[in-house]
């Protein structure tokens, strides 16, 4: 990006004008990207599979012993730990399943690492663990290894969870920004912004009455149906932190194409829209935990929508826009009244610690 010049960078280096970590570095937006690009990727270079890391996909995909493997890891620090529609436990399982599934893979096995704070009620830990078990069984994925650490009181928020997952990529399945091309249709699997707003509605100091529940859900089932349908899918991503806006921007930049969406075609539930209205948030920038964005060849779009809408997690699937040759790297929305605007990453953290 032209606004960010790399001249003078060394590694590991403090970010210019920002000698310390700020919350935005964990937000999945521009600041996170700068941290990864300038601190982690150069520091981790020089290993055999380092080129896999530099692809920066949700999951790393590489060949191993004749199989094509997808491998992903994610940490969960959500606050509060219990929210409408889920808790940190099922979120941690679904989150990693989805990261693996977005490469087209079937997730097989998951690891669970927990960091517990002295004083956490074992009863609450039990409920979180039970939720993880339920989520894994529901998704048909096995939890096969784990680790437990405890930190002093005051050094953690009750519980942090890291999960990693591996899955098998079906033969011939190659998804990623390198396959995105002008003319592709862009599909979102259902109404957006529900997870972020559900968390917000129970945040300390901000509680507001609402029936909005997190959409936290495993997407491996619907993905497997989508792949099996034979539709010419080019890329998938789950729009978590930073929401659909961040996902579309990342893909536009990584693929070097432009993206044009029809703003009023983007599905947003009435309640989410109202909450975003009074909180001053853009639903496009609010996190999801059970939705995916798919890029598909235009002639496969209708068939794929049909397959998605038959699955419980894809009932609200709809096409929201297309990939274009114009304005490469930039996402543009046509507004309801007929104007246009650029859809940018949310720069600052709209809702910190939502996953």
């Amino acid at each position: 990006m032209s606004e960010f010049d790399l001249e003078g960078w060394t590694c590991p280096a403090p970010l210019r004008n920002q000698p310390n970590i700020v919350m935005g570095h964990g937000g999945g937006g521009r600041l996170s990207g700068e941290l990864i690009e300038n601190v982690f990727v150069p520091a981790f270079a020089g290993t055999q599979l380092a080129s896999v890391l530099s692809q920066l996909g949700d999951a790393a995909v590489f060949d191993l012993g004749g199989a094509r493997l997808a491998f992903s890891t994610d940490s969960f620090v959500v606050r509060p730990r219990v929210f409408p529609g889920g808790n940190i436990g099922d979120l941690a399982i679904n989150g990693t399943i989805n990261d693996v599934a977005m490469s087209g893979a079937s997730p097989i096995a998951i690891s669970v690492g927990v960091i517990l704070e002295e004083g956490l009620a074992i009863e609450e830990l039990g409920r979180i663990a039970a939720a993880m078990g339920v989520a894994a069984r529901k998704a048909g994925v096995s939890i096969v290894t784990g680790d437990t650490k405890v930190v002093d009181r005051g050094h953690g928020d009750g519980i942090y969870i890291n999960t990693s997952g591996v899955g098998l990529v079906p033969a011939g399945c190659d998804l990623g920004p390198h396959r995105v091309r002008p003319g592709d249709s862009i599909i979102v699997s259902g109404p957006i912004g529900m997870h972020g707003i559900a968390i917000m509605s129970v945040r300390e100091g901000l509680e507001f009455g609402s029936d909005i529940r997190s959409d936290s859900a495993p997407l491996n089932g619907i993905v497997s149906n989508m792949i099996a349908s034979g539709a010419d899918i080019h890329m998938m991503r789950d729009p978590t932190r930073g929401g659909v806006a961040a996902t579309l921007n990342e893909i536009a930049l990584a693929s070097g194409t432009g993206i044009e969406i029809i703003e009023h075609a983007v599905p947003v539930d009435e309640d989410v829209r109202a909450a975003c209205g009074f909180l001053g948030l853009d639903p496009m920038c609010v996190a999801n935990e059970g939705k995916l964005v798919a890029f598909v060849a235009a002639d496969s779009c209708e068939a794929l929508l049909d397959v998605m809408q038959r699955h419980p997690y894809g009932r609200g699937a709809t096409s929201i826009g297309t990939v274009v040759e114009a304005h490469p790297g930039v996402v543009v929305a046509k507004t309801a009244i007929g104007g246009t605007r650029v859809v940018d990453f949310a720069l600052a953290e709209q809702l910190p610690r939502i996953c």
Binding site: L31, A274, L279, G338, R341, V342
Partner: protein, 367 residues
């Protein structure tokens, strides 16, 4: 909440825009005063849909943007103290001071909290009796009643650990400064609807008469803004200069009496510096004598902090409508939302940020 759809209905918008196109016979320059309206205009592309020659000039009505650098530096000095919990609206957190912003102070260990309601800061003061809790009370007339209520409540609760850092600004003096400026090109105003919800519309009558300029009190949804523009255009084309209320669902002539009472009790009019513009006489509110004990500037002795603005940043010209954001040499280069030089690049309602976020494909191809 149906109003979201109804006030961005494309058919109605189309009809209003057609009428504007039919009515216009020559170029007109209209200023929307409020940053919320600027945001609506740019986010929805309303300016793109107006007939050629009808120009919208973005006014100084973003409270985050006009809060002087000096006040930001004072806020930062207070927020850095280990005995302080510093509460603020979210937008202020990223506004750059001379050396750092509130996010930076937070990463260095400062206790900074974003609150949605000013009264949440009072609650935090109740819950943390061993800490000094400061609320950064900024804004136009709109946020004044809620900000004023914090010290009323703090007094009622006998809180000695709560104080208010006040940087309130007023719309009518700013409009007069713009009209008095020899360089100005403004021929009509969309007045800020929410300011008028609190203060009523009476203050604007004398401005209309003194300057013979149409003022239409306007709301914030796309149709509100288009309707405001339509009414100003009609007045201009017909040679009229009148005060009209195009936002009657929220604004009555006398305003909100209860809100005005608490404002009059807590605040008193003062001279105020506006970032990028300078001191405008009688253009702000500070805490009245009765509530001086809650004044954070006095409590933390920061009145000696002075600051000088970036020479590169032309936010003053932007805020006065003399240039468009992308006409500033630093726009999108030295100055981006990631590393803003001036406040209009920070806030959601800032004209520079709105241009950068929503328009950067058109302006020098910045990506």
């Amino acid at each position: 909440m149906k109003y979201l759809d109804e006030f961005s209905n494309p058919e109605v918008a189309g009809r209003l825009l057609e009428e504007i196109a039919r009515t216009v016979t020559r170029p007109w320059a209209i200023m929307e005063v409020c940053g919320g309206q600027t945001h609506t205009i740019i986010r929805n592309g309303i300016d793109q849909l107006l007939p050629e020659g009808v120009e919208l000039i973005h006014g100084p009505g973003c409270p985050v943007c006009v809060t002087p650098l000096e006040t930001i530096d004072r806020a930062l000095a207070i927020a850095a103290r280990p005995d302080v919990i510093f509460c603020s609206f979210g937008d202020m957190i990223r506004v750059p001071g001379t050396a750092i912003d509130l996010f930076g102070i937070k990463s260095q260990g400062g206790d900074i909290r974003i609150v949605y309601s000013p009264l949440d800061a009072v609650k935090i003061a109740q819950e943390n009796p061993d800490k000094q809790v400061v609320f950064f009370g900024i804004g136009f007339e709109t946020t004044a009643p809620a900000n004023a209520m914090t010290v009323v409540m703090a007094r009622r609760l006998r809180l000695s650990n709560f104080s208010l850092l006040v940087s309130h600004v007023l719309v009518p003096p700013a409009i007069k400064v713009i009209m008095d400026s020899p360089a100005h090109r403004v021929q009509g105003f969309l007045a800020a609807g929410h300011v008028c919800t609190v203060m009523g519309t009476r203050q604007y009558g004398p401005i209309v008469e003194d300057y013979s300029v149409p003022i239409v009190v306007t709301g914030f949804e796309p149709l509100d803004v288009i309707e405001g523009i339509r009414r100003v255009i009609h007045q201009l084309e017909e040679g009229r200069a009148e005060l009209e209320n195009a936002y009657p669902r929220a604004v009555v002539e006398e305003g909100n009496h209860a809100a005005q009472q608490v404002i009059n009790d807590v605040f008193t009019v003062c001279n105020r510096a506006w970032r990028g513009i300078g001191v405008i006489p009688q253009s702000g509110w500070k805490l009245s004598e009765r509530y001086a004990e809650f004044d954070a500037e006095l409590r933390f002795e920061v009145t000696n902090i002075v600051a000088h603005e970036s020479a590169q940043c032309r936010s003053g010209d932007v805020l006065q409508g003399l240039i468009k954001p992308n006409e500033c040499g630093a726009f999108g280069k030295e100055c981006t939302p990631r590393m803003p030089l001036g406040a209009p690049m920070v806030s959601n309602e800032g004209a520079c940020a709105a241009y950068y976020q929503f328009r950067r494909t058109e302006v020098v191809g910045i990506q």
